[in-house]
């Protein structure tokens, strides 16, 4: 069990590195567009489109890692007042609810993704990007987030303490 849980952590971290790479790519793409427009009177023709994909992919791919490292905020009115087993039970309830939500979102988004894949839907820009590619990245992020929630549930069951909110001061 531990091994599976640790593997999910490892994948979450890897996905966050991908999200970070996407952020760098977005900056680079915009800089390229600026250079092309100002110096060469041309355009990549796809900046807004690709950067849009980047934001979506980055947001969802980084979700699992953000959850794991305590960066996703919550309204801590109830949780801070609870201790011991009550705290653990409340935490498990939150995780279970969020996991149910994630399964719901994931299932319906999967149907959208599958339809776009079989239909061969492409974007209407000059690049004609198959939309299952950016949608697939988003789905991967949602699926991984679900896995991470499941792993967290397991960890709570094994007696690990709840994730502490981390303000990222490092």
């Amino acid at each position: 069990m531990r091994m599976i849980v640790d593997a999910v952590d490892w994948i979450s971290r890897a996905a966050a590195y991908v999200a970070a790479a996407i952020l760098v790519f977005m900056v680079g793409h915009i800089l390229l567009e600026i250079v092309l427009r100002n110096l060469f009177d041309t355009s990549t023709f796809v900046t807004a489109e690709f950067v849009g994909y980047g934001v979506a992919a980055m947001t969802y791919l980084g979700l699992a890692f953000s959850l794991r490292t305590g960066a996703l905020i919550r309204v801590n009115m109830l949780l801070v007042r609870l201790h011991g087993p009550a705290r653990r039970a409340a935490e498990m309830l939150c995780v279970a609810m969020t996991l149910a939500l994630t399964v719901f979102l994931g299932w319906y988004f999967w149907r959208q993704l599958a339809r776009d894949y079989t239909r061969g839907t492409v974007s209407y820009s000059i690049a004609e990007v198959p939309v299952w590619i950016p949608e697939g990245l988003v789905f991967a992020g949602i699926a991984l987030f679900g896995l991470q929630l499941f792993a967290y549930l397991v960890r709570l069951g094994l007696g690990d303490p709840p994730i502490a909110e981390d303000v990222g001061g490092e």
């Binding site: 041309t42 807004a48 839907t121 492409v122 209407y124 820009s125 004609e128």
Partner: protein, 307 residues
Amino acid sequence: IEWDMPNEYNATSIHALGDKYFADALSQKTDGEITITHHFGGSLGYKSVDQFDAVADGAVPIADTFVGPLSGIDPMFLLSSLPFVASSIDEAKLLWEVARPYYEKIFEENNQKLLYASPWPPSGIWSKTPVIAPGDVKTLKIRTYDANGTITFRDVGAAPIQLSWADVVPQLNTGGIGAVLTSADGGAAASLWEYLSDFSEVNYASPLNMTHMNLDVFNALTPEQQEAVLEAAEETTEHQWQLVRERRVGNYDTMRENGMNVHVDDVSPELLEVLATAGEAAIADWLEKTGETGQKILDEFAEQAGK
């Protein structure tokens, strides 16, 4: 019966006016049995490209959609955006009538019913200097709105630039771009005359919005209600094609009032020809994707238009 009806465009846009007209007609014909709540300006969260599936799945019962972006789902939807196929409002209407059965089929195959089409006023070139001769488009930094426009203007030696609509005004303000390809209507809505002085009616294309509804919702109506929906849709189509002519004249008046030079008759035939030739690549590309069907539509259109 209450329907929510999203539309990506503003409450004062020609398409929004059409939606209100349709809703009124429908409410009248059904004695208020069917009422529509409008969600203009994309306020329900959908863009046009999302609305095809949203209606198919019943997320919304009915929607008014700019169909150009749907070309990624079925290339047929690019027809009304093809450059220089229809060179006047009359021809655009004819093209719609010829292609209508094909559109209807696509919608039907996707659990939807096509109700009515609402045309955009023809697109033209908004610019800082007059664009009336072939030489004027060379090195023109122009914002285009779709792949066809990009290809067409690149081929005539202009510098097409892709920008989100929100970035257009700041870029005009600072001189990052010098021209915009859009309809007289779209440019007027953004007060482009504050930055640009000339508009050339080149009749680049007259794209369409279409209103489509979920087939299950339609089938669940009584025969009388179905009849009322179709009648109201027919009336709205007629109304919109009349309205677009008035909008065109009205837009030009507003533009002149704001100190713009509107070039209609003084656009040189050579410029139109150069642009039309460049646009042929886009048409050829479209024919490749749509095959026989596409050719059949264009042939039928050419025959009826006497071209």
